[in-house]
């Protein structure tokens, strides 16, 4: 199934010219809906992105024209479905600079990709007294699986603390990673601070001490060029749904030699070579890790999302977000009584802006701006360790993508001002009630 990237994507070419956001917006049907009689301003992209019609159409086309199980049937539909599914794998490999499609394992999401490593590689390679090093800005999905590994196998879970500006100091990494460290796992881009972590330098430290480097790319892969050869990491996890694709598809990329040595995760159909009464030999990469019928339709539609982003050019996606984030840091920062968290320089962070407003709890803020059609996230963002380290129980978070505009940042700012007005009006305490 061929899906031409949108006109928006195609027309822009691959030069350094900025994204044609007006053209891009026409590819996203949901952006024309109203919320509380106001145009939707969708600023919750770090949670999940919206989907262009090319991705939605890929799902429709698959179910209307191609639907069949893959890797089994000899009929035309099965062949077409297999080709489209494996085609998406090749696109994912090219997107992150993998050595080949066999290094791409499809999972349900980033969380499952990280858990897969915890249940396979970590189960066999981390023993009593060994160390796992993570940071205090990790998402729960990059904390809980390692707590379990530490508990089951008697390993030690060590945290590198983030600094005041929400960044990681490499000197702290140097101190934390020792010859006992078997794994360093770190987010490439914080989903709260937006911080882009120096994972390439951390990978070097990890490798110097004989440890593996696992990167949580859930926020980085959708928003900036990511090349696993350049990062020189060993494993990378990310999700389709945060990068214009459907929910229910995640990727685990691993170096071929590591994936080959790792034991399989789930047992069943597809992942086997020969099944005897007592034992089984396994399929080759990557199918060794894909037991059972996979999420065929959504993987194929994820391929359409990768086409779309590739046509836009990830360097231009990044440039667009730097520009928008600079504008947002400036405008949101100018609201009285606002605190913004994370690096102040947009070139050091992704398009994620977490902030608090004195006197307006993030929960109230999220609810009130929704009435202006503005969708933001409020709470702890699945980062309770970060939250308690920061000493801020909850924040509001605006996060951007290819279709967002400065006018939408203005709409957010106006809505936040409205929320402040509700709470600034001093209500006189009524004594006689």
């Amino acid at each position: 199934m061929a899906h031409n990237p949108g006109d928006a994507a195609g027309r822009n070419g691959t030069g350094r010219d900025p994204l044609d956001v007006a053209e891009i917006r026409r590819d996203f049907p949901i952006l024309s809906r109203m919320v509380h009689d106001k145009p939707l301003v969708y600023l919750d992209n770090a949670a999940t992105s919206q989907k262009p019609r090319q991705v939605i159409q890929a799902l429709v086309d698959y179910y209307e024209q191609t639907n069949a199980n893959i890797h089994r049937g000899l009929h035309t539909l099965a062949e077409e479905a297999t080709e489209a599914y494996e085609g998406a794998r090749a696109k994912a490999a090219a997107f992150i600079g993998a050595a080949g499609p066999d290094e791409i394992v499809f999972t349900r999401n980033t969380t499952e990709s990280l858990n897969l490593v915890a249940y396979t590689w970590a189960a066999d390679n981390i023993g009593a007294g060994d160390e796992i090093v993570i940071t205090t800005m990790e998402h729960h999905s990059n904390i809980v699986p390692w707590q379990w590994v530490a508990e089951r196998q008697g390993a030690v879970l060590k945290y590198v603390e983030f600094g005041e500006d929400g960044t990681i100091d490499l000197a702290d990494v140097e101190r934390a990673v020792t010859s006992k460290t078997k794994l360093v796992s770190m987010t490439h881009m914080s989903n709260v601070f937006g911080t882009i972590n120096p994972v390439k330098a951390v990978a070097k430290i990890a490798h110097d001490r004989g440890a593996l480097m696992l990167v949580d790319g859930a926020q980085s892969v959708p928003h900036m060029p990511v090349d696993v050869k350049d990062l020189d990491c060993d494993l990378l996890a990310f999700s389709s749904h945060k990068m214009l694709g459907p929910t229910g598809v995640g990727v685990l990329w691993g170096r071929r030699e590591i994936l080959q040595k790792m034991r399989p995760f789930l047992g069943g159909g597809e992942m086997i070579e020969i099944v005897g009464r007592e034992e089984t030999t396994y399929n080759v990469l990557p199918w060794k890790y894909e037991a059972g019928t996979p999420n065929i339709a959504d993987v194929i539609a994820f391929g359409a999302a990768l086409d779309y982003l590739t046509a836009l050019g990830m360097d231009r996606v990044r440039a667009h977000e730097i520009e928008l984030t600079t504008y947002a840091l400036d405008k949101i920062g100018a609201i009285p009584d606002v605190t913004i968290y994370g690096p102040k320089d947009a070139s050091k962070r992704g398009g994620v802006v977490a902030f608090t407003v004195d006197e307006v709890h993030p929960h109230d803020l999220g609810q009130i701006v929704d009435y202006d059609g503005v969708a933001i996230r409020a709470g702890q963002h699945c980062c309770q360790v970060l939250s308690s380290s920061l000493g801020v129980p909850a924040t509001a978070r605006a996060s951007f993508y290819v279709y967002n505009t400065p006018e939408e940042v203005d709409a957010l700012v106006k809505a936040v001002e409205g929320a402040r007005a509700i709470f600034a009006a001093e209500v006189s305490s009524v004594v006689a009630r």
């Binding site: 993030p362 702890q380 129980p393 709470f423 209500v427």
Partner: protein, 150 residues
């Protein structure tokens, strides 16, 4: 459904001027209510006199709805027997998560102002947080043979 249903003046009043906010030096029972989704927290402590809630204080951090609800709750149960407090909590839960009836609130107008919260399902948990903490305190007090030890 409008925002005015949520942010009524009486709610903002309790948020800005919380009643019974603080700590008790020597509580009989204390507990912590927490909503992991949003980080809202209510610390609740009571001092009993027989089966009457003699003193009650709340602390913690949270949104306007959870804090206003805590303020109203403490004001409503202070000086009342545990059975009344328990019944009121039942009435409030009925308002938020049940039939939506205000019948169980005994004509408490402040609490009735919170009925708009029901139209905002994600905020119902915020309003219920202090009441859940209250019920836990009552349960612990009763389990401890009404001697009320922490």
């Amino acid at each position: 459904m409008s925002l005015d249903d949520l942010y009524k003046e009486v709610i903002l009043d309790h948020y800005q001027h919380p009643r019974n906010r603080g700590q008790l030096s020597d509580p009989d029972v204390a507990t912590r209510g927490h909503n992991p989704l949003c980080g809202d927290e209510v610390l609740l402590a009571v001092k009993m006199d027989g089966d009457v809630i003699q003193e009650i204080a709340f602390g913690g951090r949270g949104c306007s709805i959870s804090q206003a609800s805590a303020s109203m709750m403490t004001e409503s149960v202070k000086g009342h027997p545990v059975t009344d407090a328990s019944a009121l909590a039942g009435g409030f839960k009925e308002l938020m998560a049940g039939s939506g009836s205000t019948d169980g609130l005994g004509g408490n107008e402040d609490l009735e102002a919170l009925q708009g919260v029901k139209k905002f399902p994600v905020r119902v948990k915020c309003a219920l947080l202090p009441w859940t903490a209250l019920l836990e305190i009552i349960e612990r007090w009763e389990t401890a043979g009404k001697g009320g030890q922490n």
